[in-house]
Each structure stands twice: as structure tokens, then as C-alpha cells.
């Protein structure tokens, strides 16, 4: 096995990077792959709670880098999915405790044992971001159909172009189809027109995402939720499958009845 390293980044904070990492990781692991997630946000770790593994942390990434534990010891195994692991960020240290070459070394050590290594980058374009992209084979940029998120995504894309990294792919998260229809939210086409990089995922706004993170069970574990389905589709596309985008216009049966039955 030689794992592929995927880094999820965004520029702007709060667009759904951590949720994206957790969901894609779960979806890949559900498909029988060996997956390890690395939380790159040292000092502000969160991937542990979104994945529901916060109570089992003993060692973290800084312990690995500084030689206080073996890499294996810091990898928390998800009991629901035995092939899914998390390497948590340190909470009481700052981002300078890890360097880009530390990340490259860690990923090289993990590569032979894994299928996928997913790195959750912190927001911003500083050290933590540099660490997170250092080992990446592929970079996914998460954005929302909203001014500041698109602008910051463009800035990150520009930085990656300057570093001559492979062209990143885009995930448009929290799309609200009703707002788009009303003309009050940038559409997928608008965002593509502005950023001009390949779109690998379109995830509808879904309140189940909040419920899932309350429970510490990423949404892609559930068969029904639309956002979960969108994340599972991204995982399939990463595996090289051609999967059409969800039809976000046709809602539930009730929405359709509402549209035709009680038109105002």
C-alpha cells in the first residue's frame, strides 16, 4: 500500500474543513480503505470532537514529532470503523512545534501502511497551512457560496499555483438551493466561473451536520442525509469513480407537494 495524502484547506475559517475531513474519512473507511486523519490545527484541535474520539486521546502529533511516543501510540482507532484512525493535534502547544519537514516525515512513515492520509489544515495561510500542504499529493479547497469564503479560496489557490503544487480541487459546501433559485446565493456555476478549478464536490446546507457533530458521528455514516451522500460521493470521486452531482433541486416529496399543491 502507498497512501495518497489529501490536504483539506480553505483560507477562511468556519467553512466546514473539519466536517469535510471527518466525513470523507468515514466514507473512505466505509469502503474498506485504511484511513488516517491528521489534525493540523495545533492549539485549536477539533477533528477529535467531530469524529467523537475526544475521550481517547493520550498522545498527539507533537508527541510523535518530539519523540515522546511511537507513531502507532498516537493513532486513535475508531471503534465503529476499525480501519479509521486519528492523529490528534496538540492543544497546549503552538503551530511552530511542528515543521513542514516533520509533516513530510510523518506522512512518509504512514504511507506504506495506509490507503489514505487526510490532513485537516487550519484556517489562514501561515505556518499551520504550510505544514498541512507540505506532504500533500492532492489539495481540496473548501469554500461556501459567499463573498469572503470565495475570495479567500482564490487567495489560497494563488499561493498553491506559486508553489507549483498540483492544481487543487474545489468543494462547495453549504449550498442552499432555494437561495440560489431566488438569486440570493452564488450558484455552483458562479463560483466555478470565479475560481476556475475543478469542482469535486457540492454539499447542500444540511442541519443534520450539526446534529451529527453533537453526537460525534460524522454524517456520512448515515445513509439518508443529503450532505452525507454528497460527502460519500466525494470519497468515490477520490477513488477515481465518475459520480454525477446530486440533483439539489428535487427536494423531498413534501417539498414537491408544497410547490405544486399550495402555491401562493
Amino acid at each position: 500500500m502507498t497512501a495518497k495524502v489529501i490536504t483539506v484547506t480553505s483560507g477562511k475559517g468556519g467553512v466546514g474543513k473539519t466536517t469535510t475531513v471527518a466525513n470523507i474519512a468515514v466514507a473512505l473507511a466505509l469502503g474498506g480503505k485504511k484511513v488516517v486523519c491528521i489534525d493540523g490545527d495545533i492549539g485549536l484541535r477539533n477533528l477529535d470532537v467531530v469524529m467523537g474520539l475526544e475521550n481517547r486521546i493520550v498522545y498527539d502529533i507533537v508527541d510523535i514529532v518530539e519523540g515522546r511516543c511511537r507513531t502507532r501510540q498516537a493513532m486513535i482507532r475508531d471503534k465503529r470503523l476499525p480501519e479509521l484512525f486519528l492523529i490528534p493535534a496538540a492543544q497546549t502547544r503552538d503551530k511552530n512545534a511542528v515543521s513542514p519537514s516533520d509533516m513530510v516525515r510523518l506522512c512518509d512513515e504512514l504511507r506504506p501502511e495506509m490507503d489514505w492520509i487526510l490532513i485537516d489544515s487550519p484556517a489562514g495561510i501561515e505556518r499551520g497551512f504550510r505544514n498541512s500542504i507540505a506532504a500533500a499529493d492532492k489539495i481540496l479547497i473548501v469554500t461556501n457560496p459567499e463573498m469572503s469564503a470565495v475570495r479567500d479560496a482564490d487567495r489560497v489557490i494563488g499561493l498553491l499555483e506559486a508553489e507549483e503544487k498540483n492544481s487543487p480541487s474545489l468543494i462547495i459546501n453549504r449550498l442552499n438551493p432555494n437561495l440560489v433559485k431566488r438569486g440570493d446565493m452564488l450558484s455552483v456555476d458562479d463560483v466555478y466561473d470565479l475560481l476556475r478549478i475543478e469542482v469535486i464536490g457540492i454539499v447542500p446546507e444540511d442541519e443534520n451536520v450539526i446534529v451529527a457533530s453533537n453526537k460525534g458521528a460524522p454524517l456520512s455514516m448515515e445513509a439518508k442525509a443529503r450532505a452525507g451522500q454528497a460527502f460519500r460521493n466525494i470519497a468515490r470521486r477520490l477513488n477515481g469513480e465518475e459520480v454525477p452531482f446530486l440533483d439539489l433541486d428535487s427536494h423531498s416529496l413534501w417539498d414537491r407537494i408544497g410547490k405544486f399543491g399550495w402555491r401562493k
Binding site: 463573498m147 482564490d154 494563488g158 440570493d184 446565493m185 475560481l195
Partner: protein
Amino acid sequence: MNFLERFFGNKSAKSAKERLQLVLIHDRTDLNPLVLEALKDDLIAAISKHIDIDPASVRIEVEHEGRSQRLIADIPLRVTSRRRMG
């Protein structure tokens, strides 16, 4: 949204896209309107040394193709110069 806005299609997404298009050009190239104006004045001065042009009709714009941008200068020539020749 009021009736008129709905009728004339004055939608917020449209203005978001237009505003972003301008913001991204400046973010990507470090070209702000002041730099473009200065560039335009220099161009007009340089070209006017050789050809007769109307400074008011000169346009300078940044166009994009994919993620790359190019500077487009539109400099109409005065019709009078041709008449003089004929």
C-alpha cells in the same frame, strides 16, 4: 426583496459575483484602479508621440481566461488622420 427588485432581476447573487470579479482581479495582480489610471496616462503619452489619438476614448481593462489574466488596451485611432492623408 420588493416587487421591483424581483421584476427587474436585481438579485444579490448577481452583485456578489460582479463585486468578486473586481476584487479577485486586484487580489491576483496587485493592480488597483490608481495603478491602472497611471498606466493609462503613460500609454497615452507614449502613443501620442507617434500617432494622433483621442485620450478620452482609450480603455484599459483586465480580462481573464481561466485563472490567467491579461491587460487589454483599446486605443481607437482618430479618423481625422486618415482624411489628412487622403
